[in-house]
């Protein structure tokens, strides 16, 4: 049933400082809303329980991309369109630019934010595997100050995060050290636009002297949280891409995910797809010119 707007409070602080002060005043009672692509759906469905919302949409402090020599810091309020159009993101972090391009439709990409995707913590979120693969750090901010947290530690359980009630995600930091890596991203869903993924993957590695180095494989929609395939990565490290290794990687990947049957797919299908995607990534790694991207 549709919500009554009279039941909700919504305020728009002028800047980041004012927003975190508001959160600090009554921790846990205010819910930040950025582009609204998730929360307004809950609101329309009458399932948005929190009645006090604080708009952080378009706060200048959250919508900057800072280019430092060793990393880029992407403001949490940057939209998918911002990510797709940013030259450094496109050139150095193609997995993220690709994921942004297949999140929702164009109108959603103009509103949905990277920070919103992280805080909303859906295991099916398209941009999160890319952040895992690149070894992102998050900068979290509150009136108590800033702290930096490896993104891989951010998701505690299904839809539970390490974000304190008085904190906002300020920025996502990606190390600029993946030049020369082969990258592979794919979304498997009913369709690319709009549809939520059955499985999505972001992977990268480099091949040196015929063996795999620094392989990073992250998948979404196959566990309660976005997942790095640590065991698969371990068995691939410094191995040549040959049929026996590919077969072992396929089995290992299928074994370390925890997929479920749900409205979008089945656990069995998801495990088969993850195996196939890992194999397709390795094929691309072996023969980069031949693979998809």
């Amino acid at each position: 049933m549709r919500s009554d707007p009279a039941d909700y409070e919504l305020v728009a602080p002028a800047n980041l400082q004012a927003a975190i002060s508001l959160l600090a005043g009554e921790p846990g009672s205010w819910l930040p809303i950025a582009g609204g692509t998730d929360l307004m759906v809950q609101y329309a469905a009458g399932t948005l329980r929190v009645r006090k919302l604080v708009s952080i949409w378009n706060l200048p402090d959250l919508r900057r991309v800072e280019i430092l020599p060793g990393e880029i810091q992407i403001g949490a309020g940057c939209t998918y369109t911002d990510l797709r159009e940013h030259a450094v993101v496109r050139d150095e972090f193609p997995l993220l630019a690709r994921a942004a391009s297949w999140t929702g439709g164009i109108a959603n990409q103009n509103r949905g934010t990277l920070g919103g995707n992280i805080a909303n913590a859906s295991p099916a979120a398209d941009s999160l595997p890319a952040l895992l693969a690149y070894g992102a750090d998050l900068i979290l901010v509150s009136v108590r100050g800033e702290r930096r947290l490896p993104y891989r530690d951010f998701h505690a359980a299904y839809k539970e995060t390490k974000l304190a009630p008085d904190e906002l995600i300020r920025a996502v930091c990606l190390p600029r050290r993946f030049a020369g890596y082969v990258s592979y991203a794919r979304k498997v869903g009913t369709r690319n636009a709009q549809a939520i993924s059955k499985v999505c993957i972001a992977a990268l590695a480099r091949l040196e002297s015929g063996v795999v180095h620094d392989v990073r494989i992250a998948v979404g929609s196959v566990a309660p949280v976005p997942l790095r395939l640590a065991e698969t990565e371990r068995i691939l490290d410094r191995k040549p891409v040959e049929p026996s290794i590919v077969a072992l990687a396929r089995r290992t990947a299928a074994g370390e995910i925890r997929p479920i049957d749900d409205i979008r797919s089945t656990a069995r299908y998801r495990a088969a797809v993850v195996s196939n995607l890992v194999a397709e990534f390795l094929e691309k790694l072996r023969a980069p010119a031949m693979g998809h991207e």
Partner: protein, 160 residues
């Protein structure tokens, strides 16, 4: 319930409008019910179908997902504005000639999505057009004609 209505000002189709509304009221409802601009349609109400698409400060958005507070001070363009602009005849004519409108409910959103695309990419590929319209659903499933209409409009220079 404590009344929390406030005044919001925004430019709609070139005219400054002031409305009294609750801050969580959807831009879609403000356009349709406060301002009588019923060209913007409600389809799914959850950002999937694009029937409620409008431009805010030049960006294509779904107005069902935007609380009016977040549109405060912005410049909103709805289908009513585009319909009155001579420079858009190419897009409108192409929709007519190619059979791009059937029941018509999706058409305002399709036209706005197409205009946004052509503003950014005056010579789109078919793939660009498919992507540009991927957030707009047509339940008559007239996609082929709609995509052809946008390609035809691009050939006629709809963006200039």
């Amino acid at each position: 319930m404590t009344p929390k209505e406030r005044e919001f000002s925004l430019v709609v189709n070139g005219e400054l409008k002031t409305v009294r509304a609750h801050p969580m009221e959807r831009l879609l409802d403000v356009l349709r019910e406060h301002l009588g601009l019923t060209g913007t349609k409600e389809g799914c109400g959850e950002g999937e179908c694009g029937a409620c698409a409008v431009l805010i400060d030049g960006a294509l958005v779904d107005s069902c997902l935007i609380p009016i507070l977040q549109a405060q001070g912005s410049n909103v363009v709805t289908i009513e504005k585009l319909a009155g602009e001579p420079r858009l005849y190419a897009l409108q004519e192409a929709f007519l000639e190619c059979g791009g409108a059937q029941c018509g409910i999706c058409t305002p959103g399709m036209i706005l999505a197409a205009q946004y695309l052509l503003n950014r990419k005056p010579r789109p590929t078919m793939e660009d057009i498919r992507e540009g319209l991927s957030g707009n659903l047509c339940r008559c499933t007239g996609y082929t004609q709609i995509i052809e209409a946008v390609a035809e409009a691009a050939r006629r220079g709809a963006s200039t």
